[in-house]
């Protein structure tokens, strides 16, 4: 099954979500093509992460539907979506701090394999998983720290482990929630080139506030405000749009 046989990698149709009286997602529709690089922007509280949480299954929408490569995943629990080829990272770093970098990435691999139910063989029995985890750590430039616990490494390095866990899964659709948040300029450049090197088999949808870096990575942009899609389209068209300036660029 190749990605190109479907017209859309991810389709969100009329998604609605309210917390009590507060409508955080109002009729959001998105159509993202296989291999596309989509940037989602919007002011704080625009509902970007809430939208991600609905796509990944952490939150149930009140109505609307979500389709991944043509299959309706609206009512699937998060773990089943992962098996459909959806991976995500978190704005707030969510790692296993007592475990090594290698173990963290291996968990990403284990999650998609039957070995996760294996009750008498240790994880170390699966040497190929360790090899693959180390290869991914190498790709994000952290191989030399592979056997250190997460608690030993710096914030910027944790951001990269966060990315490595998702990349190791070789997802069809990857949701990146502020992958550059809190990074120094040098670290930004590193992570930017990492994201740029993600293979085209993976569709990338990214929330990011750092426009200077993120716009270079994006082909298409969606602007959200108060839970609504304000502008949606090719990068340059969205940037040039008057409404974008009004809502986001604030000039």
């Amino acid at each position: 099954m190749t990605a190109s046989t479907f017209s859309y990698a991810l389709e969100v149709v009329n998604l609605k979500k309210a917390f009590g009286g507060l409508a955080v997602t109002q009729n959001v529709s998105l159509s993202i093509r296989p291999g596309e690089r989509r940037l989602i922007i919007g002011p704080n509280g625009a509902g970007k992460t809430t939208l991600f949480n609905q796509i990944s299954g952490d939150l149930r929408p009140n109505s609307g539907s979500i389709r991944l490569f043509g299959s309706d995943i609206t009512h699937l629990p998060p773990y089943k979506r992962a098996h459909f080829g959806l991976s995500r990272t978190y704005q707030i770093i969510t790692l296993f701090t007592g475990d090594t970098l290698e173990h963290n990435v291996t968990l990403g691999l284990l999650g998609l394999r039957r070995a996760r139910w294996q009750m008498w063989r240790p994880l170390s029995f699966y040497g190929n998983m360790t090899t693959e985890a180390r290869r991914t750590l190498d790709a994000v430039g952290l191989l030399q720290l592979a056997t250190h616990p997460i608690s030993d490494i710096a914030y910027g390095e944790r951001r990269r482990v966060e990315l490595a866990m998702a990349l190791a899964q070789q997802p069809r659709v990857l949701l990146l929630d502020e992958p550059l948040a809190g990074l120094s300029n040098t670290e930004r450049a590193t992570v930017k080139s990492l994201i740029a090197s993600i293979p085209r088999q993976t569709t990338v949808i990214m929330i990011e506030h750092d426009m200077d870096t993120a716009l270079d990575l994006a082909e298409t942009v969606t602007l959200l405000n108060y839970g609504r899609v304000i502008v949606d389209g090719e990068r340059d068209a969205v940037i040039a749009d008057e409404r974008t300036r009004e809502v986001y660029l604030g000039t």
Partner: protein, 311 residues
Amino acid sequence: MKWIGAALLAGSLLLPPLFAGDFYINLASQILIAAIFALSLNLLVGFGGMTSLGHASYLGVGAYISALLTSRYGFGHGAAALLSIAGTTAMAAFFGVIALRASGLGFLMITLALSQVLWGLAYRMSNVTNGDNGVAGLTRPAPFGISLDSPISFYWFALIVATFALVMMAIFVSSAFGSSLKGVRDQPRRMAALGFNPWLIRWITFVYAGFWGGVAGLLYVYYHKYIHPTSLSTTSSAEALLGVIAGGSGTLGGPAVGAALVLLLKNYVSAYLERWNMLLGLVFLFIVLVMPTGIVPGVSRLTTRLRGGVR
């Protein structure tokens, strides 16, 4: 260093029967039973992050099934043991579905409530359970024709079962599934996003813990040759939980050490002090203040620090 520790442990387990009196041998047997029970609870508390205050249900029901089947319904010990373990495990499967609707404090309250129901039934259904009088006049099994009536033979039997239980639970927690379980304990949301089914992982562990709770119950009833509703009480659950936390939850040996401590305090101190619970409380407080992660992690940290100082 590890070998010295292992040799000391093996020595302390293998030597007592050679010189100790019956009192101490019996005490050692009870410690082994309490250790299996605490280890099984630790699968939930330490490795699964599911703090249960109703684990006595499995010990008590395991014991009652065997007691009633052998004394009232004429079953042999072999068949009774199998039915007892199967029944306890099936109960864990059912209780797990109920209790795992919640997590954290909610989970704790549901396990507590379920165990209270069983405790109440054991008291009130006196036509079956003999109520407050308990079921007395039980016998010990004789596996392969070897009588377990003497303290020494029972000790060896308990030691074999306890060793087997420890090995089985050690394999379980260090397996790939064990990694899934610890991951779900630490970051359930992340684990779900990575493709793990947190509910099913917790439920399987709950059932496995119930199984070993039932095994502890069988040994318990064989040892005492008597069973009373107090075995199902919250106190019984709480003592095991205390042992797990005091010894070091989430470690393999910790709960066994903790269970031994609770049992020794109970047996020794209660001979001199009416209010032995008070001393148990003080000891527990001391452990929590000095070694918040428990005795086993605390002591191992202390020894590495001391050795580092010598060098």
